[in-house]
């Protein structure tokens, strides 16, 4: 495309089919303990 550069495509929808295994890290265990960001966590299957 000339006017638009896509940084990431529709990845979220693709995860609906196979997601939810629950094996990934609990977000509050990583560093925060007082706030919330989930999108910086890793999918266990992507490691």
């Amino acid at each position: 495309m000339k006017h638009v550069s896509t940084l990431t495509s529709a990845t979220l929808k693709q995860t609906a089919a196979h997601g939810g295994c629950g094996e990934c890290q609990t977000s509050c265990q990583s560093a925060c303990k007082t706030s919330c960001t989930v999108a910086n966590q890793k999918c266990e299957h992507a490691k």
């Binding site: 550069s5 940084l7 495509s9 979220l12 265990q29 706030s35 999108a39 890793k42």
Partner: protein, 456 residues
């Protein structure tokens, strides 16, 4: 739903429901402000007229590209692929413990949400036998989950070192029998770190969180010892020795807190980086309104500007070959968590619980001491499924403010404890927290785009 924003000459359009992120030129960005989900197959003349500062042909071309994205499900996507009822966990398999091995602390941090370590429950150390019962509890409750996390927390967990070591040994001894893998984290203020503990932590802890607020004056204003002296000079050399000896493949964070007293907190982040740490997290304080160092809406412009400043500093550092990561600016656009996790968030109260030195179970560390949230005890392995089910049932679709928010799939509805503490309702989002979160996400996505542009 889309979210449009500009930062440092870059134009962004986020498609909320699909997760797509687009960087647009000025013409297409202008067009994106004049369209909605009901896009016609050809560019309406009204849009061409309204954007008369651009060549008409270019406007039509940009419109067509946006229409193509829409048809590909990357713009104005619906969320009809999400079956929320299917994603509400049943049976609440518990997979993560915040193990409060010490309700005691050797610091007296003024902003401590744990009442300087004892959570208002008296100073106590968890006996190894209770920690072992907590391990039994999580194994019994974890169902088919293979990976189990335990965070040694407090208070200050190094004050309960025997319990820490015995708990790790006990959990490891059961891994094969129950087909579980334990991953340990320890969150420490560092005062009691010595060579043996450092080596043990680097060997056995998958993650270590090192509490440090930044510049000496900032750290020592709040993070004082029992005798009232600052902790900076004691802890920084200990933290540095730990990190220098640590396997780079293993996680660690130098983690600080900022308050209204250091709204120039980017300087603290830089200070920690310059002290030799490259994985950083400096987070807004959790504090009672009116306490004198709490953050208010009036601080928001300064906080947002500071996040912007930090973003630029990080780009400069990267160009200079001295990069560092900042926890809240980390976002994985390609291989991040699945939509199911993004719906549900932290899992407090059903897959993640806190256990006190007496063995009492609470939905998370921030609920400890709130009697109405006590969920059971590892002593008799009781677990209140009514409370668990209530927590499991909360998600971005049950929180009214989330439904209209573009950031919902990134923060997953925020922190139930923050909502409860500020608004007395776990589904009523804490507005200031949301504002900061949205700003951080805009910065995070900008950084990703800037990295990509630099790489190209």
């Amino acid at each position: 739903m889309i979210h449009r924003y500009q930062k440092n000459g870059l134009n962004f359009v986020l498609d909320v429901n699909s997760g797509a992120v687009h960087v647009l030129d000025d013409i297409s960005y202008a067009v994106s402000g004049l369209i909605d989900e009901n896009m016609a197959d050809t560019c309406p003349q009204q849009i061409v007229d309204e954007l008369s500062q651009y060549p008409a042909e270019e406007v039509r071309e940009a419109y067509d590209e946006l229409l193509e994205l829409k048809k590909a499900g990357q713009l104005f996507a619906e969320d009809d692929y999400i079956d929320v009822s299917k994603y509400i966990p049943v049976g609440a398999p518990v997979k993560a413990l915040c193990l409060h091995v010490a309700h005691d602390c050797n610091l007296r941090c003024k902003y401590c949400f744990a009442s300087t370590g004892d959570f208002g429950q008296g100073r106590k150390i968890m006996p190894p036998e209770i920690a072992q019962k907590a391990i039994d509890f999580v194994i019994a409750r974890s169902g088919k989950r293979h990976n189990i996390e335990v965070d040694f927390f407090g208070g200050e967990p190094l004050m309960a070192w025997d319990t820490v070591v015995q708990t790790v040994d006990y959990a490891r001894s059961l891994e094969e029998k129950f087909n579980k893998k334990f991953r340990f984290t320890i969150t420490t203020n560092g005062l009691l770190l010595d060579e043996d503990k450092r080596a043990y932590i680097n060997e056995n802890m998958d993650n270590v969180v090192l509490s440090l607020d930044g510049r000496p004056s900032v750290n020592d204003e709040f993070r004082k010892t029992v005798s009232g002296t600052g902790s900076y000079d004691v802890i920084v050399p200990k933290f540095k020795a730990l990190v220098d000896a640590r396997d780079p493949q293993k996680d660690y964070y130098a983690r600080g807190t900022f308050t209204s007293h250091n709204l120039d907190f980017a300087d603290d982040v830089v200070h920690i980086a310059d002290a030799g740490f490259d994985r950083l997290s400096v987070e807004p304080v959790t504090a009672d309104p009116g306490c004198g160092y709490d953050l208010t809406e009036a601080d928001l412009p300064k906080i947002e500007a500071e996040y912007d400043r930090l973003t630029e500093i990080m780009l400069e550092r990267r160009k200079a070959g001295k990069p560092f990561s900042f926890f809240h600016f980390m976002v994985d656009l390609d291989q991040g968590p699945c939509v199911v996790k993004r719906l549900r968030g932290c899992g407090a109260g059903y897959e993640y619980v806190a256990v006190t030195p007496d063995g009492d179970i609470y939905p998370c560390h921030q609920f400890v001491g709130k009697d109405e949230f006590k969920q059971g005890s590892v002593l008799d392995q009781s677990f209140d499924m009514e409370i668990a089910t209530k927590f499991a049932g909360m998600n971005i679709y049950t929180r009214p403010k989330c439904q209209k928010c573009w950031a919902k799939f990134y923060c997953s509805g925020g922190c139930s404890a923050a909502n409860y503490n500020m608004n007395h309702d776990m589904n009523d989002s804490y507005d200031l927290g949301c504002e900061m979160e949205r700003k951080r996400l805009e910065c995070a996505i900008y950084l990703k785009a800037a990295e990509k542009i630099c790489a190209d």
